[in-house]
Amino acid sequence: MNTPYGELLVALRPELCLVVGALVALAVDLPKSSRSPTQRLQISSTIGAIAIIAALVCGLDAGLPGQLFSGVFNLDMLAQASRAGVLGLALLTLGITAGTSRLRHPAEFVAIILFATAGFTLMAVAQQLLLAFLALELASLSLYVLAGFDKTRPESAEAALKYFLFGGVSAAFMLFGFSLIYGITGSIELPEIAHRLAMTDTSPLLMVALVMVLVAFGFKAAAAPFHLWAPDVYEGAPAPASALIASASKLAGFTLFLRLLWPGLGAVSGNLTGTAGWLPVVALIAVASMLLSNLAALAQSNVRRLLAYSAIAHAGALLLGVIAAGTSGPSPVFYYAATYGLATVGAFGVIAVIERTGPCHSLSDLAGLRTRSPLLTGCLFVFILSLAGIPPLAGFVGKFVVFSAALKLGGLAGWMALLAIFLSAIALYYYLLILKQALVVPAAAPTSAPLRVPPVAAFALLITAGLIVLLGLWPSLLLGLF
């Protein structure tokens, strides 16, 4: 058998850049030296940024080779776009890390961010169950470590342990589901699976497999009722780690999810009016996520937990987009996930900058931000309004394309879209609570000193805010891709 390893090497240059960059960052930091942690952080994040930019350039340079390595990789437009999106989000996370991190082992942190990013990019191109599982585990295992990286705070270790235990169980569910799919179809390649499933009837065993895979994806995407880890992890993990978990991992996860469900298992999708399949289950998870999270967020007073519940609500809306993707194509979900990722990276970046000088737990810690740092307030304003879906920001266009795709489907999906629109109005309340603290409420005496924003972090935040406005004004930059 003549295997095209050369082709593979060319197509996987971005992943190579990331892994080599991670190893170089570790190696440079390895010898004992008198450098301070700040200098070490600067050196390793520079190496990391170079690696990610090289990966971006290689990825854009590769074009669209399509199926590779006998169908294990599929480098179509969706894969390339979400690979570029994941790399961009990781770069912004790295910028925030470089500006704000006070960790004792900065090189390891940067290296693990790069490993996680390699996992995300592989998730974006995987078209085979084994590669999908391996990429997902590479990303997840890196994220568990990142969540527990702050060894001085017990909350960080606890968050990582909870994330790990939930994630481990969900990985086992996914593997069991994959094994059943392999047993039913005799193949682990998605096109082959689709071909075999189209010829067979739905069996109870297949339903068990589908439910197990969906349970696992529900965990990974933090959709209700499998969302319990999300608020704890977002609260306990270091802010850059939370940013990566909330943004790039969501984008990569939903790309994989789309590819697995529609091209792979599309033959057994069932429909929303009662035929058995995965569509009713996804619909149930989507509605539960939107309802539970928006109501739970109303009672929150912790900023990070509030962002976690907002993440769960957005996961519900994204699942609605997944349901609609069968007819409208993947572009609404991709646009939504990418712009949502930008807004959360930014929000966690603002939290990270505030945490350099004091705590940022409860909403009142944001009080007086307007006088302390106009730059941060302006950025936070853009991010939060984009999360809430206010025009002309990107969050609004994301909501618009996803909901209109669902409304076009009509029937139950249309009603779900109406519910989502109604719940967006409720969500506006808790988003505005954040902005009220930042813009209106004056600062309490001990925390009223002006905040100094590190230049790298300021640059990353401004780029993020700029991208949100730009993509909101010209959505066709992303939507026109495919």
């Binding site: 568990y144 060894k151 017990p154 235990l165 481990g168 169980v169 069991f176």
Partner: protein, 103 residues
């Protein structure tokens, strides 16, 4: 009952034991054991489907199992590291006492 069915019954049984262990135990190490049991149940499935399936020559099931054993090992490594990190702070590994984060 055919041999394939027996294997599937065994693996489902193991998966359930693992899930119950992961849900009900309060000792973190025992929860980890439960997760490993669930992963191994899936591995038995892969081997059984490969052994009794039509496509014997391709060896897909075996390959998948090799990779998933490696993943399970690295998961155990990360898990035990996190258990140690928690132990350093709360001096035990009982899950009930890992309750700083709530709200």
């Amino acid at each position: 009952m055919s041999q394939l069915q027996l294997c599937l019954v065994l693996s489902s049984f193991l998966f359930c034991i693992g899930l119950i262990g992961a849900m009900a135990r309060s000792n973190t190490i025992l929860v980890l054991l439960g997760v490993e049991l669930m992963l191994n149940a899936a591995n038995i499935n892969f081997i059984a489907f490969w052994r009794y399936g039509p496509d014997h020559a391709a060896g897909t099931g075996i390959l998948f199992v090799l990779f998933s054993i490696a993943i399970a090992a690295s998961e155990a490594a990360v898990g035990l590291a996190l258990v140690i990190a928690v132990y350093r702070h709360q001096k035990n590994i009982r899950l009930q006492e890992a309750n700083r984060l709530k709200g």
